[in-house]
């Protein structure tokens, strides 16, 4: 039995890995693989071309793959007469063809614009969410909107959703244009001599000064549009070889003699680029690891396994007491452990690539908190042998990883350089890790609380042993959480004192962590005083978690967005609010059911 479960498991895993990687790469073409790994400088770091392409398509189009609309005859423009193809196309292919065949892409609806108010202001069809560059560049009202945006920026007020959308559109169009004319494709490092320090610009001969009134960007790589001589030709060869390597072209049997394979072209170009400045040009290792990280998509893999684990516990639950129930519990353990390993592996890759603990934005903390939830779930499950803990952990981990995966415009998954004050301090790292891992314990308690309230609704007396069991688990979670949150909040004070000279400056993020701490401390004291009993603890764990949501999410997306003028609308505030409201209604319903039952009894 166990053997068959394990076989089933490994088969599922293998199938998953293949289906996932298959859907996002174009097969095993080594030329394409080499092009993915071509180093490119963008947004303050050197990254693989593939990552650049994904991020660019994400910004402009809103997804990391392009889904051609059925009527577009996409093949004929770029690859010579292939059949219309509506399969999703990978970002790399799209971004390459953007600058190779701009006249085609100018007509395709690839610029995402969702805000109805802005569409109205631009006289665009409100029912469409994506527009062709030609429509937008030719729009006679666009200049006016951008002028308004510039004027609004002058006031330095926070941008409201309308101007946020306008600012995004401005950068989408800017990036589209920059890809089209290849000025954003910075693929060759500067020669050592060119790389003069900032303060020497005034002594440069005039011809070299590009823009004398602005500070110089250090170590700025040269873009494809700035290349000259052999480098330019070699990049041109990549372009030709790329077109030949496109699936449609291969089918059409395009025989262009003299063009080397894409692999050779990319390798030749890389060799030349490296000789320009070997010190600045990365070796392939980290670039390769980043491509591997992006393609593995570890957190998606993890949540799929967490779901399976939760299902296995669910089955075990229905077979409670039956002889084969325990096999499902074991299967759930194995699945959850494998998922956790993948989760850990993905997380480690991210740590390696960014060179820091990845807890610097919402996306990273969501991944980290769900990891911590699983860690606590394993520990308490092992101590308590109550599969509700593992079930709760798996549900929370699934939920977090799905959220992280599905709202990239809110939770930015890209690898970003850090803001100055956040760089390289031990205290900051320890502080943030401690606070956020306390959220893991509270998250677990929240799920346990909801499960417990479910039992309350089903019948308090019939399930009193389960409720008792859940209360004990919640209590443990809250204790761990409170100690970690107290320590983390104090460490925040130590960090602030070390970095800013203020132990406590009423920074909203820190303050809300303190409010959450006060909420849980109040709950524990209320329990101690006898005000709150088992069911109260269940409800308390659920209600108090909304303070964590406020500290974790609300400070950035509700307070940070500026309560006064808009408040709701950006970053999914409406969904989170609805989620909390429904959860509170659930708590209220459980309470009412319990009271009605007690009165009846």
């Amino acid at each position: 039995m166990i053997h068959s479960i394990c076989t089933f498991l490994s088969a599922t895993l293998v199938a998953l890995v293949f289906s996932l990687s298959g859907s996002i790469s174009f097969g095993a073409d080594e030329g394409i693989e080499a092009l993915k790994r071509l180093p490119i400088q963008d947004a303050g770091r050197v990254k693989p071309f593939d990552t650049f392409a994904r991020e660019t398509l994400q910004l402009v189009y809103g997804r990391i793959t392009y889904k051609p609309i059925p009527k577009a005859d996409y093949g004929s423009e770029t690859s010579g007469g292939a059949k219309p193809d509506t399969r999703p196309r990978p970002a790399l292919e799209i971004v390459m063809t953007w600058f190779l065949a701009p006249q085609f892409w100018d007509e395709q609806p690839i610029i995402e614009l969702k805000l109805a108010a802005l569409k109205k202001a631009l006289n665009l069809e409100v029912t469409r969410d994506r527009f062709a560059p030609r429509e937008l560049f030719g729009n006679d009202r666009l200049g006016l909107v951008f002028q308004e945006l510039a004027a609004y920026r002058e006031t330095k007020e926070k941008l409201n959703p309308y101007y946020q959308a306008a600012a995004r559109l401005e950068s989408q169009m800017g990036v589209y244009q920059a890809v089209k004319n290849a000025s954003i494709l910075r693929v060759v490092p500067p020669r050592p001599a060119e790389n003069k320090p900032e303060n020497k610009t005034e002594n440069k001969p005039e011809a070299e000064v590009v823009d004398p009134l602005k500070p110089v960007e250090p170590e700025r790589w040269r873009s494809v549009s700035e290349l000259e001589g052999p480098l330019k030709d070699q990049f041109g060869t990549i372009a030709k070889a790329f077109i030949r390597a496109l699936p449609g072209a291969a089918a059409a049997g395009d025989a262009d003699g003299g063009v080397p394979s894409l692999l050779t072209a990319v390798q030749q170009f890389q060799d030349s680029a490296r000789t320009e400045n070997p010190a600045l040009y990365p070796d392939g290792k980290d670039i390769g690891i980043e491509v591997h990280y992006e393609e593995l998509h570890p957190f998606r893999l993890a949540w799929i396994l967490y779901v399976l684990s939760a299902i296995a516990i669910g089955i075990a639950w229905t077979r409670d007491g039956k002889s084969n129930g325990k096999y499902f519990v074991r299967a759930a353990w194995v699945l959850a452990l494998v998922a956790f390993l993948i989760h850990t592996y993905g997380f480690s890759l991210r740590v390696y690539l960014t060179g820091r603990p990845p807890v610097s934005n919402m996306y990273e903390t969501v991944i980290w908190v769900s990891w911590g939830t699983m860690l606590f779930a394993f520990f308490f499950e092992w101590k308590q042998k109550s599969y509700f803990v593992l079930l709760s952990g798996a549900i929370v981990a699934t939920f977090c990883n799905i959220v992280a995966d599905s709202v990239p415009h809110v939770l930015d998954a890209s690898l970003q350089p850090l803001e100055p004050v956040l760089r390289s301090t031990l205290w900051l790292t320890v502080h943030v890790l401690t606070i956020t891992i306390s959220y893991s314990a509270f998250f677990l308690a929240w799920m346990l609380g909801n499960l417990g309230l479910g039992f309350v609704i089903k019948g308090d007396r019939a399930n009193s042993s389960r409720i008792e069991e859940l209360t004990v688990s919640i209590y443990r979670c809250l204790q761990v959480g409170v100690v970690l949150l107290a320590a983390g909040t104090i460490l925040g004070g130590v960090w602030a004192d070390y970095s800013w000279g203020r132990f406590w400056g009423w920074d909203p993020k820190e303050t809300w962590a303190l409010i959450a701490l006060l909420g849980y401390v109040a709950l524990l004291h209320a329990r101690l005083s006898g005000w709150v009993k088992n069911i109260g603890m269940l409800a308390g764990a659920v209600v108090a978690f909304s303070l964590v949501i406020m500290a974790w999410y609300g400070v950035n997306f509700v307070l940070g967005a500026g309560l006064h003028s808009y408040g709701f609308g950006a970053g999914g505030v409406e969904y989170v609010s609805a989620f909390i409201l429904i959860n509170m209604a659930f708590v209220g319903y459980a309470y009412a059911m319990n009271r009605a039952r007690n009165v009846a009894a």
């Binding site: 050197v46 170590e219 700025r220 006060l518 006898g530």
Partner: protein, 466 residues
């Protein structure tokens, strides 16, 4: 008596009271974060965090914590965690109180190559000086003012001066300074004002320049190029690219454009709306507006909420001695206002308080490290010179400690036109409560850990039994 004391203590030590106090602190604090989001940190501090709404529950908390410890006397070993955590909180709060009362929390902004000897703190002072001759001044008034909590609109601040009166009749916490240039054809001594645009494919900037008086020389430094207004053209242009302008008549401005590369000088006349090729960097100079006699007028427009460019401002009503004329004028925080009467000149200063440090600090060098290929700042550092200490480097997370103060690299100011840093902003801090805060924190954490081990079972039992 003793029993009565016990009873009061027991009441104050009640856990239910403790829960209410904790919730009250949580609610007030949450309100503070909302005020901060709506306005700014200063508003949150004044309206909430330093107000009675915050202090009252804090005092109650200390009383409750003390009472519960007294109530548990005599203590047993199992109380260690509980005592540690509660004493820790009290010590932490005492430390914060000491910081608030005796600490200094301010900032120092030093221009590159310049010297600074005072710390700017949050308190604001209003001072009035008078002078007969414009060189020696007599102080008539100097007091701390807080128009945020006590707006002048409700209760004007009246300062009597010999034969007249200066009144602060209105105050707004958030206002935008607006600069206007107005024609003053009747003032024969007024200078000219110009508005111009410099443009090439990479640069597009529009600037105002005003001569402080007729024939006065003014310079605007725009990186490798300079724009000057002069009364007389210079002989030597200092080897730089320069556009030198001289008001010629009511319509035209005479120009000399010097090229650093060739050393040549291009001469001619330009009127509003016309364009001149400078001959360097493809830059075009366009004269947008020309006012031969102009004066600068500063007004403040009140906003409901702050933005990074707003400042506090007050409205001054001046009853001129002798003539009895009333003048009304706005002034912003950290500025001077000169009021001219027949015989005297009055100077009003409304500014953040500056505390002398007791030594000077010179900014030798300021560096911004940037992420590769971008203008995004990755790090800042200031090289400062302090007498007796020599040159010291202050960078993010690497403060300088000297004479009881700690200097932290906070931010920097940059030239809006060129983006180049012009001054380093250091936050300065003197915190006598620091030791207590650390001690309190340590006790809280140790106590919490102890509680975590010791109390779980007992708490659980009690919770289910009651």
């Amino acid at each position: 008596m003793k029993q009565k004391f016990r009873r009061v203590i027991r009441q104050l030590a009640s856990l239910k009271l403790a829960v209410l106090i904790i919730l009250a602190i949580g609610i007030v604090t949450a309100w503070g974060t909302i005020v901060e989001a709506q306005y700014d940190a200063l508003a949150a501090k004044k309206i909430v965090y330093s107000s009675i709404w915050m202090i009252a529950p804090m005092v109650m908390l200390v009383i409750s914590l003390t009472a519960v410890m007294v109530d548990r006397w005599p203590w047993k070993p199992r109380h260690i965690g509980f005592i540690f955590a509660h004493i820790g909180i009290i010590i932490l709060l005492i430390g914060s109180l000491i910081t608030q009362k005796f600490g200094v929390d301010g900032s120092v902004s030093i221009g590159i190559g310049e010297k600074q000897k005072a710390i700017t703190v949050g308190e604001t002072d209003l001072a009035v000086y008078s002078s007969l001759d414009g060189s020696s001044y007599r102080k008539l008034f100097d007091e701390e003012v807080d128009f945020f909590l006590r707006p002048a609109g409700k209760k004007p601040l009246v300062i009597s001066i010999p034969g007249g009166e200066i009144k602060v009749i209105e105050s707004v916490p958030y206002a935008i300074r607006e600069q206007k240039f107005v024609d003053v054809a009747d003032d024969s001594n007024a200078g000219a004002a110009l508005r111009f645009q410099l443009q090439n494919p990479n640069v597009n900037m529009t600037e105002w320049m005003l001569q402080s008086s007729k024939n006065a020389a003014e310079t605007k430094d725009l990186g490798p190029a300079q724009v000057l207004i002069v009364g007389e053209f210079p002989r030597d242009f200092g080897g730089r690219n320069a556009i030198v302008l001289r008001p010629a008549d009511n319509e035209r401005v005479e120009y000399n454009i010097h090229s650093a590369r060739t050393g040549s000088i291009k001469k001619g006349f330009v009127s509003a709306g016309e364009v001149i090729e400078t001959g360097w960097m493809g830059l075009q100079f366009r004269l947008l507006k020309y006012m031969p006699k102009a004066k600068e007028e500063i007004t403040y427009r009140a906003l409901e909420r702050p933005t990074p460019v707003t400042t506090a401002a007050i409205k001054i009503e001046f009853l001129e001695p002798g003539t009895g004329k009333l003048k009304v004028q706005w002034m912003g925080l950290n500025s001077l206002l000169k009021l001219f009467a027949d015989e005297q000149v009055y100077v009003i200063s409304y500014a953040n308080r500056r505390l002398p440090m007791g030594f000077d600090m010179t900014l030798k060098e300021f560096k911004v490290g940037r992420y590769q290929g971008t203008l995004r700042a990755a790090s800042y550092e200031s090289l400062v010179d302090v007498p007796g200490l020599g040159q010291q480097l202050i960078s993010m997370n690497e403060p300088l400690k000297h004479a009881g103060y700690t200097f932290y690299q906070a931010s920097f100011d940059s030239d809006p036109a060129t983006g180049k840093p012009t001054a380093s902003v250091l936050s300065v801090n003197h915190d006598p409560g620091r030791g207590l805060k650390y001690l309190g924190s340590l006790l809280i954490v140790l106590g919490a850990i102890h509680l975590f081990y010791m109390k779980r079972r007992a708490w659980m039992m009690k919770g289910t039994a009651v």
